[in-house]
């Protein structure tokens, strides 16, 4: 086996930086919070640069005997994950500042989760995949219950842990069946074995179903979505912000790589499953969100709904479908982080964070800029042109139509219309309802700059980015074929 450490420099940076920050945290106690926060952000930015710069052709092949790959697909995922994790860390600062729950461990846990996600998007072997997934999940369970004194946060952590462990068990069972019937945990070897057999045996089929069920849980696709609203609502809002961004990207990219690289020859088998999950996610995400009164729950259903559209791209398959998935995830992360940044900075008169949708009443008269930004994010999440959220949806439907999946595309478009209702409801509450109570808005300059930047990206000006993001996504998708 050869060791090509040059290809995993981003991961090495994070892994070496983590214990240093951890010991700083334990030696200095709470005073280290600033150091670990900005240290982690600096590490993540440095790792992004290392990932983007260090893409030499020699590192594109299999690494460490085929356990990992640093191909353009992995690099695309890493850059997206590192940057959104950095934003999630910065966004937590002012929210946690109002009480002393914000220990220096918060950014370090996110750093550990980021290393796990980095392995997830690079894995080309089922065992590496599982190790990365677990490192990400274990950090996430702790993060969900980060506010130990808050019963809801503890409940969210426990629910997430129990259901997550169950999903991991299902995934492992699927992997063991695939290994048993193909003789390898290597993606390429599994694909070769699937390609050899003309008819798929029941054992392989079960392995595929269990593996996809485990992955569907991690991307919170219906019918494995039930944990999402509870965990999103109970977790501290900065943690929810993180959950909705980077881990979603990692899990979607992981599922894409498994479907295309490992299960590629069995596309007729998994396409049915993905199509069902896509349509169920779109419609359940859209309809269940109607009655919600908590904005975090609403955004949880919004993420389920968006995952449905992403899965349409995956169901289409092919380079165009994968490229649409990658493009969608980039824009989804920007819209979601933007919406959560606004929610993070809502305060009532006592300075407590508010989560009720009713609290947004009359926001437009008090905080016009903020209301406009949230309205932009909502319109964009609904996919209403000319905002940028429309473009990735168009790409996804285009990929589906190219593959002859007309019914799927039509159903997806119907789902968009149903989903638009609750996004528009938020806009209506902000602009046309009378305010009941005083709403404060404690937004730091950095957060305001981020909200402004993200709103600019999803505004029609974002179409200027189609070139660079599109070519990066095409390049990344090309690495899988």
């Amino acid at each position: 086996m050869t060791y090509n450490f040059a290809a995993i420099v981003p991961e090495l940076m994070l892994i070496i930086g983590e214990p240093i920050l951890m010991l700083t945290a334990s030696t200095m106690g709470r005073r280290a919070t600033k150091i670990t926060t900005w240290g982690t952000v600096a590490l993540l930015i440095a790792a992004t640069i290392a990932a983007l710069v260090g893409t030499e052709p020699s590192s594109a092949g299999p690494l460490f005997g085929g356990l990992l790959s640093a191909d353009p697909f992995a690099v695309y995922g890493k850059a997206l994950i590192y940057l959104s994790a950095a934003v999630a860390i910065i966004a937590a600062n002012s929210w946690f500042a109002r009480d002393d729950e914000h220990g220096p461990e918060y950014p370090i846990l996110i750093l550990l989760a980021t290393v796990g996600m980095s392995v997830m998007v690079s894995a080309t072997n089922m065992i590496t995949l599982y190790v990365g997934l677990e490192l990400n999940s274990l950090s996430a369970y702790i993060l969900a219950s980060y506010r130990r004194t808050d019963a809801r946060s503890a409940e969210a952590g426990l629910k997430y842990f129990v259901l997550g462990a169950l999903a991991s068990g299902i995934l492992l069972y699927g992997i063991s069946l695939l290994y048993g019937f193909t003789g390898s945990t290597q993606f390429s070897a599994i694909a070769a074995a699937l390609g050899r057999d003309e008819a798929m045996g029941i054992g392989l089929l079960l392995g595929l179903v269990f593996t996809l069920s485990g992955l569907a849980f991690k991307i919170s696709a219906v019918p494995f979505h039930m944990w999402t609203p509870d965990v999103y609502e109970g977790s501290p809002t900065p943690v929810t912000t993180f959950f909705a961004s980077a881990p979603k990207v990692a899990a979607v990219l992981l599922a894409t790589r498994v479907c295309i690289e490992a299960l590629g020859p069995a596309i007729d088998a998994w396409r049915q499953i993905i199509i069902f999950a896509a349509l169920a996610s779109i419609f359940l995400g859209a309809i269940a969100a109607w009655g919600q009164t908590n904005i975090k729950r609403l955004l949880a259903y919004s993420s389920i709904n968006n995952i449905g559209f992403v899965l349409i791209g995956l169901a289409a398959g092919g380079a165009a479908g994968v490229s649409a998935v990658l493009f969608y995830m980039a824009i989804y992360v920007v819209m979601t982080l933007g919406a959560f940044l606004v929610v993070l900075n809502l305060r009532n008169a006592a300075g407590e964070p508010v989560e009720a949708i009713d609290a947004l009443k009359g926001l437009s008269s008090r905080r016009p800029g903020m209301a406009a930004a949230l309205a932009v994010f909502m319109f964009s999440l609904a996919g209403i042109p000319p905002l940028f959220g429309f473009w990735p949806k168009l790409m996804v439907f285009n990929a589906a139509v190219e593959q002859g999946l007309f019914a799927l595309a039509v159903a997806g478009i119907l789902g968009t219309v149903v989903g638009a209702f609750y996004y528009l409801k938020i806009v209506k509450v902000m602009y046309f309802d009378e305010a009941e109570e005083e709403l404060h808005y404690a937004c730091g300059n950095l957060e305001a700059a981020f909200i402004g930047l993200f709103a600019l990206i999803v505004s029609p000006l974002g179409y200027l980015l189609i070139g660079p993001i599109g070519s990066a996504a095409d390049n990344a998708a090309g690495a899988l074929f």
Partner: protein, 125 residues
């Protein structure tokens, strides 16, 4: 047939010895304590021992969360030893790469211990 049965002689012997020894372990103390007059049962002596908790209670009982911390630290270092055994046995075959990998793993565990120590996880009071 006799050949087959002879093949199982070791396990038969083992079971016989085990039965004899375990009866002796159970029987002897009871017998000796009665003979020497040390047999004075009281409720504390007769109760089952289970990690320092009363054995039969409602499971929704409160107990000290510090037990968890100790147990988790124990499991980590217990598993470390479980890793070390196969590693040590196969080291001649796996070479320096395995040695370096294990040293990295041990360093990480040591760093974790330092963290737990500095956080006061090892102090009972």
């Amino acid at each position: 047939m006799a050949d087959v049965a002879a093949g199982y002689l070791p396990i038969l012997l083992f079971l016989a010895v085990a039965l004899a020894l375990s009866s002796a372990f159970v029987g002897l103390p009871m017998l000796v304590s009665r003979l020497t007059g040390a047999h004075r049962p009281d409720p504390e002596k007769l109760s089952e021992y289970e990690c320092g908790f009363p054995a039969f209670e409602d499971s929704r009982d409160q107990f000290d969360v510090r037990f968890y911390l100790v147990a988790i630290l124990f499991i980590i270092f217990d598993l470390e030893v479980a890793f070390l055994f196969p590693w040590a046995v196969s080291l001649m075959g796996t070479g320096w790469a395995a040695w370096i990998a294990m040293m990295i793993f041990l360093t990480e565990l040591a760093l974790g211990l330092v963290y737990a120590w500095q956080k006061g996880a090892l102090e009972w009071e």
